[in-house]
């Protein structure tokens, strides 16, 4: 494109110039707590292939403009200009830089996560755990789509569930408590890794951490079962409870695992999962 003036401006520079002029004209406070996201370009949170910060692209403006205190997100851990969006909301401006991951949730959203107060981070992570749990273990319309099932994976939930299961089993055991705990933890952790590798080696399309996260969350029913079995020592009740929670866990894990591999290999992917949950179930019943 040729312009009438001698300096051909990059189209996006035009908006930057407007931005800088707005800065000059409007009242500029000395420190803006967080940089307001500039719509045409991705602003500060520069991910792996970044564009340079718009404000510094020199155009035919007088030099002083560049040296003004531009609205950089300073490291003031107080109020950000816009609160960090909650996880389910799509990020308003999208991380438009690389990878096309727009619309993905708020964890990496905008310049604000670098300056948000700590409490926001905590709340965000906690609500993510709860929402992941609800997604995996309870019926919801997205279960069939593995891409959506656990988009926002996290490993905190699985960590707590595995530790809780180990603790419950260890408490129920009358002898060798430490070994029971160590075995339960190692079995569950290694089992999750191996199951994931199994699917990957079968040519399935899952993401390693997403799968670990899912298998961990699917332990929640077994946790509940183990807790009940710890409180009630009757064998028949134990078997019934374990059977129910086992079915629940398998039901939770099934759609994700089966859609990840091609149909001919579904059984190969699912059988080890079932095997692991059955063995955990036996462990729960057998401990006394």
């Amino acid at each position: 494109m040729s312009y009438s003036d001698t300096i051909p401006l990059h189209p996006s520079s035009q908006s930057d110039i407007d931005e800088i002029e707005n800065l000059i004209n409007s009242s500029h406070s000395s420190v803006l707590p967080a940089r307001p996201p500039s719509p045409p370009r991705a602003s500060i949170p520069i991910s792996s292939t970044p564009p340079p910060p718009p404000a510094f692209i020199p155009s035919n403006l007088p030099p002083p403009a560049v040296h003004k205190p531009t609205p950089v997100p300073s490291v003031i851990p107080t109020v950000p200009a816009a609160a960090a969006p909650k996880p389910p909301l799509p990020h308003p401006h999208g991380s438009t830089t690389s990878g096309g991951s727009s619309g993905v949730t708020g964890f990496g959203s905008g310049p604000n996560t670098l300056t948000e107060p700590v409490w926001h981070t905590v709340k965000r992570d906690l609500s993510r755990i709860v929402s992941n749990l609800k997604l995996v273990v309870f019926p919801n319309p997205y279960r069939e789509d593995p891409g959506k099932a656990l988009r926002d994976w996290d490993l905190w939930g699985p960590f707590f569930f595995i530790v809780f299961l180990g603790l419950t089993l260890s408490w129920s055991a009358s002898v060798k408590k430490s070994e029971v705990f160590a075995v339960a933890f190692a079995l569950l952790a290694a089992g999750a890794v191996i199951l994931t590798l199994n699917v990957l080696l079968l040519g399935g399309h899952i993401i390693f951490f997403q799968s670990l996260s899912l298998l961990g969350y699917c332990l929640f029913p077994l946790d509940v079962g183990a807790l009940i079995c710890m409180l009630k020592d009757n064998v028949i009740i134990k078997v019934a409870v374990v059977a129910v929670t086992l079915a629940w866990s398998s039901w939770a894990a099934y759609p994700f695992m089966s859609t990840a591999v091609n149909p001919g290999r579904k059984a190969l992917a699912l059988y080890p999962v079932l095997l692991m949950y059955v063995s955990v179930g036996f462990l729960i019943i057998a401990i006394d």
Binding site: S48, V72, F107, L114, R151, W156, A186, I207
Partner: protein, 186 residues
């Protein structure tokens, strides 16, 4: 004027003493508990749970709080629309990065590396003594430390690359624009 949050006395004090404290606190607590508990507590379950919990809390604090505030870096993983996993590395812009307190970042990086080294030493001890369960604990803590190290190192490299790219671009475009303005004047 000392009251302004922007003014930092050159190299004198930590800019965020509380954050630095927490950054070190959980690491030191995990290590201390592991060492002392082996002497005083016989119940392995407690050792495991408390040590791993402290290590996990430390991981979270470093990743989400002290990384952001002490060195202005952040990393995470996203899954995009196509179901692909994308690792993202985020840093503050160059001006803020340059304003970071040197002492803060020195503490950040040194304690990060030092903790990992200490855990490796403990892992070697457990291997030598053939204690599989202690090796498990150390393994988990080591994994968490290494994950943070890798994430932040990648972040830092990214930040440096950006700085160079941005600097060369600035120089190049200023050069061309000043040449062009010189020609228009003439």
């Amino acid at each position: 004027y000392w009251g302004s949050p922007l003014f930092q006395p050159p190299g004198e004090n930590y800019a965020h003493p509380k954050i630095c404290f927490f950054h070190v606190l959980f690491k030191a607590a995990a290590l201390a508990f592991y060492i002392l508990s082996a002497l005083f507590i016989s119940n392995f379950v407690i050792i495991f749970v408390v040590t791993v919990l402290l290590a996990a809390l430390d991981f979270w604090v470093v990743k989400n709080v002290s990384g952001r505030i002490l060195v202005g870096l952040r990393w995470w993983n996203e899954i995009n629309e196509d179901g692909e996993s994308v690792w993202r590395f985020e840093c503050l812009d160059q001006e803020s990065l340059a304003r970071m307190n040197k002492k803060d970042s020195w503490l950040f990086w040194w304690t990060l590396y030092l903790t990992a080294v200490v855990w490796v030493v403990f892992a070697i001890f457990s291997l030598i003594r053939l204690q599989a369960d202690y090796l498990l604990v150390v393994g988990v803590c080591l994994t968490l430390s290494i994950a943070n190290i890798i994430g932040f190192t990648k972040c830092r490299k990214d930040a440096k690359k950006q700085l160079q790219a941005f600097a060369t671009q600035t120089i190049a475009s200023r050069f061309t624009s000043s040449i062009q303005s010189a020609f228009t004047v003439v």
